[in-house]
Chain length 424, copies 2
């Protein structure tokens, strides 16, 4: 009931937010930044309480680290807000302007999607990041954070609401607090236009399977690096080590390495040495194990997102086999080829069916900030609407505006007027 | 089982279709056009049988008309193919090109969505129209037409397959024939990327509620024309008559007329005269009926898509009330304002939350052909991916290509390289 009411208010707010100018939306973000700094002690206090509660409930250390809100996180949030403010207005885009018949002009204008429901786990700084992307793109939003961050989240949503006072209509954002609220949210397909879930695979899969509302996100990140016959050895080692080890529990880390048979004896020994040096456990196919000792990989390994210091390794006989393996076992997230051969690279980039297809660089680059989007709401492995890292642009849709002086379709049919379809 | 196999073959075909050039896809469309002309007698023969069967089953006259495939339909199909061939390659679009760091370049390239499932009712010419849009955009497709058009559809799909021989891989398109096939299709969310349903409201609603696959389409077309205080009388009459009467059983016909109180006495009498002259039944609110005699409109009328010669009429006290009514009762399809007042028009176009928002022209313009898209797959009232009339562009997605020379995220973090994010 409470959730429905919050969603109704958000829907209503979203309609009047359509007239908020870019300066107004940026002013809100400026005020939010100032409030975060001014009220930082209140945030730390609330966060300390969350941390104490979490420790007494024996939350795991990595979760505690994500839960903690300190000066470092405040600093990067403020930097993020600054770069978001500097981005051009995503709602100013007019990407089609066409004369339909003299005096009748069609334009396609960007506009907000409406009401975004965001469901995320422990990190309280995600609340500010995602909320600010919604504000920049003129969307109303409902946020449901992790239960363990409730005190911190309450303070943070209060700051967003305070920053929005006199700029956006009341109800433009709200915090949902209980697990039951999530259930209600997922059922409100007449009020919520898009759900953005952030969290574990199982969690996102659950969301996707339990709502009629469009969901933007990714469940799995099974990324590949393929070392082609014509790969440079040093580059192959350097890029693969980065793709696997630069961070472990992330969706864009490489989980399976494919190596062309003709390059395996040259590249696998130094590569394995470097990976083992970094503490990576290797699981290889039979042919791999004939070159370098390691655990055997099973069929299930090709479908596994380890999110850990584990890499599965397979030798393939051709570029085509590598492409087939990626399209079959991958999750269409991000896959890379290492090669000096332009033709092989072009074919790989054309035929691999993933949101990101890379040549000679680390899969770890798949990220909204690294792409220059300011920040990201998430990374989409769906093919519709938005694919790959999603920034403010993915929180926008468009509408067609048609302006005339009394034109009718009858006039077009009877020949009084004729279609010119001239792009202006 | 048969459907699953067809879908698997289509999925496989869709992967190798990624390397089909624009010339090849256009060649297929040229061949298809030639075959339609060459084999027209076979099409008419099959169609005659469908018509005979339909008559013996006492199909309604409008359905028989839709079912009929004659020289007129062949002629417009060929014209449609010509205009589609002339359209630029939708897969050649590169709408982002950015240096991430020196030597590392990010590009966003258009690409096909993959496998499209199209479910449509009686009109067999729709098979060619939608099939050709899928071919132009490089998608594999499965088509399920109306049972009553089965013989015609079999001949038509055969022509598409013949035209595709030696150009696209086998299995790039297939015809599904039974109602059970539709059930299977809707369950194949791992093989089908998008469902495009065409047909009645109830049919489309059924599809949307019975699949996890994204559905692109519209259930309702409850379009409005709002006559503002500052509307020109003649224009208001001419545009409203066209919006209601130019065609009746179409989603972009106006179903509800809103009139500003200050313009009602001036405009309603001549407008009602013109509409009654065209045989339109009027259903007015109380205030309307004080000016012009007509049946009373009930609350349910504001939510009804008549698809018939009926128009509901409501007097509103302000532009804001008109916008509120449209956003509350409409289906976010297409809505128009008639006004000479620029400020009122701007506010209407900003605040009405519909795929098409028009000024001083007929809602009947909401159509892919009229927008210059060559043809349309359908009109989307969803807000994600594609909105409004959807042509080849709506059958495309994009992928990010990132090309480097060994760049790693570690280098970015340790300061060896830095982000430049320079658009090229």
């Amino acid at each position: 009931m409470q959730t429905t009411e919050a969603a109704q208010r958000a829907k209503q707010a979203s309609r009047s937010m359509l007239s908020a100018t870019h300066d107004e939306r940026n002013l809100l973000l400026e005020k939010l930044k100032a409030l975060l700094i001014e009220k930082q002690e209140a945030i730390y206090d609330a966060n300390r309480q969350d941390l104490t509660d979490a420790q007494s409930e024996q939350l795991a250390a990595p979760l505690l680290k994500r839960l903690k809100f300190d000066q470092g996180k405040l600093h990067s949030l403020c930097e993020g807000l600054d770069s978001l403010i500097r981005l051009p207005d995503p709602l100013s885009k007019v990407d089609l302007r066409r004369e339909i018949t003299p005096g009748l002009v069609l334009e396609r204008h960007a506009c907000p999607i409406g009401v975004i429901g965001v469901i995320f786990e422990s990190r309280p700084d995600a609340l500010i990041q995602i909320g600010s992307l919604c504000i920049k793109s003129g969307n109303a939003f409902l946020l449901k954070g992790g239960r363990e961050a409730l005190n911190t989240n309450r303070v943070l949503i209060g700051l967003i609401q305070e920053a929005g006072k006199d700029i956006l209509p009341d109800g433009f954002c709200a915090l949902l607090e209980t697990r039951e609220d999530v259930q209600s949210l997922l059922s409100l397909d007449h009020l919520i236009d898009l759900i953005v879930p952030r969290g574990s695979n199982a969690f996102i899969r659950y969301i996707m399977e339990n709502t009629k509302i469009p969901v933007m996100g990714h469940a799995d990140g099974i990324c590949h690096t393929y070392i082609d016959r014509d790969a440079d050895t040093d580059m192959a080692v350097q890029v693969t080590v980065d793709a696997k080890c630069q961070a472990l529990a992330v969706c864009n880390a490489t989980e399976t390495l494919l190596v062309h048979a003709d390059a395996a004896e040259r590249i696998l020994p130094p590569l394995f040495a470097a990976l083992i040096d970094r503490g990576v456990e290797l699981r290889g196919c039979e042919r791999t194990r004939r070159i370098c000792a390691c655990k055997p990989a099973e069929e299930a390994d090709w479908r596994t997102e380890y999110l850990d210091a584990i890499l599965s390794v397979k030798i393939v006989d051709s570029l085509e086999e590598a492409i087939w393996h990626i399209n079959t076992y991958g999750s269409h997230h991000t896959d890379a080829i290492i090669t000096e051969n332009d033709a092989a690279a072009a074919r790989f980039m054309q035929l691999v069916d993933s949101a990101g297809v890379y040549r000679n660089c680390s899969t770890r680059f798949a990220d909204g900030y690294r792409y220059g989007f300011g920040a990201e709401v998430g990374i989409s492995t769906g093919k519709l609407h938005a694919r790959g890292p999603v920034g403010v642009e993915g929180l926008c849709t468009y509408k067609y505006l048609l302006c005339g002086s009394g034109q009718t379709v009858s006039q077009m049919q009877d020949g009084t007027c004729r279609y010119t379809h001239k792009d202006l």
